[in-house]
């Protein structure tokens, strides 16, 4: 209880909402909601009621069950894609900062190139080559996360490299890799956690966007983006088809941001100032 009270109301909300979404996603992927997700024309376009809390869609699927199933793909794909991007980007940033020289420059210019490339175009390209689906979506989002993490980590580490403890480590003959992972990484770990939370919120939006244009998760798997796309022509008849998945997406993004805020506040409280 004591640990809970240290968090603000917003932070508690963020944590709670994401936990609920994750549990819902797990329940859905274990098959407990298969009845609700099944197509049943006899119950199409029902308004929210005690039987269907969030109503049903044009194919008679229960919207609440679809949102739970969508949570599995949105969160799963978003988080996996960010972690994948971070797993490549962080070591890249660390090593290029610790090593310096031409290779370091080349790698960061490469990152700029990715930044300059329209993300949707790349996603279309990947889909054309690999075919649409969850794996392609993860890859497309991950590619754009690599330079984000590489650049963040490199920038922070370059300023750390001018500190005397790096000179001391070099006098102890520590290798570039040891300096990167043993000396630099712990000093940027907090920033990385914050960035992961922020990127995850962007990634679930990206996932929904790709699904919305049909490049993401393919039926029969549910996705919030696809739900929104399907609801497009029915807004006036069945507004709940837009309201619920839209709110779920918005609240998930908000939750990730609240968590990033919480981490960054705690991190700066705890950390002795680096620039002192």
């Amino acid at each position: 209880m004591n640990t809970l009270t240290r968090f603000s109301r917003g932070e508690r909300f963020g944590g709670l909402f994401l936990t609920i979404l994750m549990i819902a996603g797990i329940i859905a992927s274990l098959g407990f909601l298969d009845d609700g997700v099944a197509i049943d024309i006899s119950r199409r376009l029902l308004a929210p009621s005690s039987a269907h809390w969030m109503g049903t869609d044009a194919l008679g699927r229960d919207v609440l069950s679809l949102i739970c199933a969508g949570a599995a793909s949105s969160l799963g794909i978003g988080i996996l894609a960010v972690l994948l991007g971070a797993a490549v980007g962080i070591p890249l940033g660390l090593v290029t900062a610790a090593k310096g020289g031409l290779i370091s420059e080349a790698v960061s210019r490469g990152g700029d190139l990715v930044f300059a490339f329209p993300s949707l175009l790349l996603a279309v390209l990947l889909t054309a080559v690999l075919g649409p689906g969850a794996k392609t979506t993860i890859l497309a989002i991950a590619v754009f996360n690599v330079p984000v993490f590489a650049r963040l980590v490199r920038g922070q580490c370059l300023s750390l490299m001018s500190r005397d403890f790096i000179l001391s480590a070099r006098m102890s003959n520590r290798s570039t890799a040891a300096i990167a992972f043993d000396h630099l990484l712990p000093n940027v770990a907090g920033l990385i956690v914050i960035q992961i939370a922020l990127q995850a919120s962007l990634a679930i939006v990206a996932e929904s966007g790709l699904s919305y244009v049909g490049l993401g998760v393919q039926p029969p798997f549910a996705s919030w983006g696809r739900m929104l796309a399907d609801a497009q022509s029915l807004v006036s008849v069945a507004p709940w088809l837009v309201a619920f998945p839209g709110s779920a997406l918005m609240l998930a993004v908000l939750s990730f941001n609240l968590i990033a805020d919480a981490v960054s506040r705690r991190w700066s409280d705890r950390t002795p100032r680096l620039d002192a």
Binding site: D164, L167, A169, M171, P272
Partner: protein, 532 residues
């Protein structure tokens, strides 16, 4: 008698805790008052109280009168800038990097007296010339980064003078500057006080600076004034223990000349370094020849820009020179020969200036101190490692600390001890002290120096001390190299060089070094130092 400023029982409270109590003094026009004390003595808080810059929540009581006119102590900020000017320690951060210096001075004038742009700019030019930056030499359209540290501090003084204040408060105005520049800035402050009829309140941790320019001295400790009076009287017969402590520690501990000097450990021959930038090349170091023998204590003195940082990195094998050779332990440094470099690294360890920057904030003390142990061959076991770390910490007087603690739990002096423990743990032959005591106050500095002398020099080990502080170099080294503009301009036995400097630069350096005693009378100096 007309007083510029009168302060009566000034006190500062933060959260019902007294931070400063009972500060009382008066200053006439043209007078310089010095407030001296170690870090945490309350001297800076006093300055902030006088300028209304205290943190929120702080309460000020007492009386302040400017030109016999009472000022509300709770609202001093209303006269700040206009009647009280301030100069801070760090000129680099006091100025706006994106604004021309003339505009920065003019902005202050527009705010207080003359709102017209042309008029204020003309006044700004005059003020800049007044503080030694005439238009012909340093045009007003320069940006701060185009100026040296001393010139930037002059701009900061011009800004403080912009509203023609009656009182100028200077809080450690020369601490970030070189010795020769410090000398000039202090002279300028004194001149401004005399010619413009200001009262100057100079705050410093350095007794010698205060002695050099102030007529009255206030010694503070623990938020209280412990001694106060005419500077000459107080320094001739310091009554309070705090003053005596400051006085005694002003001089670094004196070390006898090294006895047994062995073969050369470190040798630099014709070392040169050129920096290429924007298609121009600048010589950083030129034809440096240097030798440190086993058991010998060598000092390198040089100001910022003299190339000493680059030289240190080359000497400890972290950078390769463009020309010449550095030999360590009888073999030239060759960074491509990994096995030999590893053996050579074990011979030399360094302590750097800033203990905040030299200890990784995320590492435990155990990890920090134990890092050089990876250099030892054969690799030491866990038990041996732990006992070596303990022993090393014991030696520097930190035997009791938790090994899992992080650097931020320690004071500056303790951190420097931790850095020293790290340098000693792998048993090197040569210690490089790169401005290792420059960031510490006199009392802490002397503790660390005594420690180094007792632990190290007394066992016949040598060190290379790099510093801009002549007094430290003078008391602990046998031989000195004076570095200026990337060249060693003078070299020889420390006492001989400093008592009879031949090169004009060395002479300038010796003359600029503030001292409590007339220079040249080194017998007096040694009376006050405790020999180790």
């Amino acid at each position: 008698m007309s007083y510029r400023i009168e302060v009566e029982s000034l006190a500062v409270e933060i959260g019902n805790q007294a931070i400063v109590t009972g500060v009382t003094f008066k200053a006439k026009s043209g007078e310089v008052i010095g407030i001296v004390g170690t870090s945490g003595s309350g001297k800076s808080m006093t300055a902030l109280a006088l300028t209304g810059l205290l943190p929120p929540g702080a309460r000020v009581s007492g009386h302040i009168r400017l030109d016999h006119e009472s000022v509300d102590t709770r609202n001093v900020s209303s006269v700040r800038g206009r009647r009280i000017g301030i100069v801070f320690q760090e000129p680099a951060t006091a100025l706006n990097p994106l604004m021309r210096i003339g505009d920065q001075v003019a902005e202050s004038i527009q705010l207080h007296s003359d709102p017209s742009r042309a008029g204020s700019l003309a006044t700004a030019r005059r003020l800049l010339a007044r503080v030694g930056l005439p238009e012909a030499l340093v045009p007003a359209d320069r940006y701060p980064h185009e100026l040296s540290g001393g010139q930037r501090q002059r701009v900061a003084i011009a800004i403080a003078l912009a509203a023609s204040p009656r009182v100028l408060i200077a809080d450690e105005p020369t601490t970030a500057l070189d010795v020769t520049t410090q000398h000039q800035i202090l002279a300028l402050l004194q001149e401004i006080a005399a010619e413009d009829g200001l009262a100057v309140i100079l705050i410093s941790h350095d007794l010698a600076i205060i002695r050099q320019v102030s007529t009255q001295i206030i010694v503070m400790s623990g938020g209280r004034v412990v001694e106060q009076g005419l500077t000459d009287d107080v320094l001739r017969q310091p009554r309070d223990t705090v003053t005596r402590e400051l006085f005694k520690n002003h001089v670094p501990p004196f070390a006898q000349a090294s006895q047994a000097i062995g073969p050369a450990v470190l040798q630099a021959q014709h070392v040169g370094r050129v920096r290429h930038q924007d298609r121009t090349s600048r010589t950083i170091l030129e034809d440096i020849n240097l030798r440190v023998h086993a058991g010998e204590r060598v000092g390198i003195v040089g100001e910022s820009g003299s190339g000493k940082s680059t030289l240190v990195r080359i000497l400890i094998g972290l950078e390769a020179p463009d020309s010449g050779v550095v030999e360590l332990g009888g073999h030239p440094f060759d960074l491509s020969n990994a096995a030999r470099t590893r053996r050579q690294r074990q011979l030399v360890q360094a302590v750097f200036q800033d203990p905040v920057s030299s200890l990784n904030p995320r590492h435990s003390i155990e990890k920090i101190v134990g890092e050089p142990l990876s250099l030892l061959a054969p690799v030491v076991g866990e038990a041996e490692r732990a006992s070596r770390i303990r022993r090393s910490l014991d030696q520097v007087g930190l035997g009791m600390i938790r090994l899992a603690a992080r650097p931020h739990e320690f004071s500056g002096g303790q951190r420097q001890r931790i850095a020293l423990a790290r340098a000693l743990v792998a048993d090197p032959q040569l210690l490089v002290l790169d401005e290792a005591v420059s960031a510490l106050d006199a009392v802490t500095r002397n503790e660390i120096l005594r420690l180094i002398l007792a632990l190290w020099a007394s066992r016949g080990r040598g060190f290379l001390l790099v510093s801009h502080d002549l007094s430290v170099i003078r008391s602990v080294t046998d031989r000195i190299c004076v570095l200026a503009g990337g060249v060693i301009v003078e070299e020889g036995a420390t006492e001989a060089v400093l008592s009879q400097p031949e090169h004009p630069y060395t002479r300038q350096l010796v003359e600029a070094t503030p001292t409590l005693f007339p220079l040249g009378t080194s017998t007096l100096r040694k009376d006050h130092a405790d020999p180790v």
